[in-house]
Symmetry: C2
Subunit: 329 residues, 2 copies
């Protein structure tokens, strides 16, 4: 089988490519070739199949048809700019997060039509819990409406609707998975307004200061990068029949307050690490975060076989293991 990963240089994309390379197969089928693209070229990777890597901008109209021309069997569509950037740059956010995605959907539809309907790939799209906007019930159910309070969330909600319609029409077999905030993100901070949720764990563990721009009472929904890759693999291989026309799902996760995150850090790290969290409230980030959802009843996804961590301690341990980080340096 042939696999296309759009957004292969991002944090989740790299981990997905790494797992595919290690396993050499997806859903019991041998991988013959993979194509990884991103706005910067994904790093080379050893794998039992050839990997083509290239840099491209999915918002450029000539790109999506080229990406799909090889008729990959499975397409992972992970590419987007993050919430803070989409809020700061209205036109860029719509151009990439909405139009780029839509042009990929359109390119698949045209291949489907050109193949007389025989080409109908599995498409896995990463959406976000930012499709929801406050005020919320105590736990957000699987039938709660999407009223995003950011342009990023709006763009994701629109792509979900397109994905469902293109799937209903039979152009591709799509599933949208709404990722929790991914914690603990390795590497450098990015522009996401949610960056501090990882920063307050990752930076102190490395002996560096981290800024906490909100209060400890802020409740949020998390899953590890390892779980995120697990969601993607399951979405790419599961039977989508039970989803019916409702193709977009909130993924399971762990609901914890920032205070509970810090307590979980204290349980694995030395006390001077915890002391590296500097409290400095940022009204812009507080405003964005206050519109985000906090806790979900993700029972539909769990019933369909998706699973995540049970508590934030497990999330930190997954980080220590997967990133070879020593908690007590």
């Amino acid at each position: 089988m042939k696999i296309l990963v759009i957004g292969a240089a991002g944090m989740i994309g790299r981990k997905l490519m790494g797992r595919l390379a290690r396993e050499g197969a997806l859903g019991g089928r041998r991988i013959e070739a993979a194509h990884g693209v991103d706005v910067v070229a994904p790093a080379p990777l050893a794998a039992p199949f050839p990997i083509a890597s290239e840099a491209c901008d999915i918002a450029a109209p000539y790109i999506p048809p080229k990406l799909v021309a090889g008729r990959p069997d499975v397409i992972f569509l992970l590419a987007s700019i993050v919430s803070g950037e989409a809020e700061a740059d209205f036109e860029k956010g719509y151009a990439i997060n909405l139009d780029g995605t839509r042009m990929i959907f359109e390119a698949i539809r045209r291949e489907h039509v050109a193949s007389d309907g025989s080409y109908r790939p599995r498409l896995v799209f990463t959406s976000s819990i930012a499709v929801f906007g406050a005020p919320f019930p105590e736990a957000i159910g699987d039938e709660f409406f999407t009223t995003p309070l950011t342009s990023y969330g709006t763009q994701k909600a629109i792509c979900e609707l397109l994905l469902a319609d293109y799937s209903r029409r039979g152009f591709f077999d799509g599933i949208g998975i709404r990722l929790p905030t991914i914690s603990v993100r390795p590497g450098l901070p990015n522009k996401a307004a949610s960056g501090f949720f990882s920063g307050i764990i990752r930076e102190p563990l490395a002996g560096r200061e981290a800024v906490l721009p909100v209060t400890e009472a802020v409740l949020h929904w998390h899953a590890s990068p390892r779980s995120a890759v697990g969601f993607l693999i399951h979405a790419a291989t599961m039977d989508l029949g039970p989803l019916g026309a409702r193709r977009n799902l909130t993924m399971p996760g762990v609901a914890v307050t920032v205070g509970e995150q810090i307590e979980a850090l204290r349980a694995v790290a030395v006390e001077r690490a915890v002391a590296l969290i500097r409290r400095e409230r940022d009204p812009v980030i507080e405003r964005i975060v206050s519109g985000w959802p906090t806790r979900f009843d993700a029972s539909r996804a769990r019933a369909l076989g998706f699973h995540a961590e049970d508590d934030f301690g497990q999330i930190i341990r997954a980080y220590l293991e997967d990133e070879n980080v020593v908690a007590h340096p």
Copy 2:
């Protein structure tokens, strides 16, 4: 004030223009000029203010900026192709119902930016209950999710999301109103899959046969054209502050079965009129209609001052009065 009506030649658009012309004012402010456009030129109309009428295609990119260049204070955006046509012609549906609407939103945003933020018109967008898709709860609440089962419903749901985001950003002051099925539509049948809901009343009252393509058990949500115009006027003049970020509302209506519609007809018409309804089930229409919602708890809209008829008899009487139809010819 200046008013722009996009979709002014359609059934609702004509009735809206007629009411504006009769009243000469909107929300207590005198109307100085109106501009009515549609894919065919709206018919001339006597009014105490000048009316410019023209034919244009909102899916042509040069059109939306021209429509908005005069900076109308209130924009009614009623234009779309109907559900059956959007289902039959995928590309046309997206081009007009999604891209046409989005280009109008974009044209307003550009005027807003060009005016240094001082231009921020009221925008009233007609959405549809087709944004919802089965299975449904017994009554659809104001927080139920939008999982449309038609491309038309998908396009409307996407425009709702765009409207909310553009309003949140302050580019315009928008409200989306989800119209019930409008009954009884005067004039000739159109391509809407919902056309029979009006046809089985209108045609027999005129002594003509009407085809009923579904069973009498089909439950549906109706309001009269008179109520629809009332919704538009209220949406254009009310304080939108209480809506917050949730800018799209299901309008009130009357939930009746086709059988109850026929009983309401029997109450005003001669028996031989009722006998003109010919039952001939159409699997295509039955499939489309089976995905449509049936009954709403439109309490949010009612609390905000929108109101419709109480029963289908009132809807038929509104038709007889507004169209000068004699029930017993």
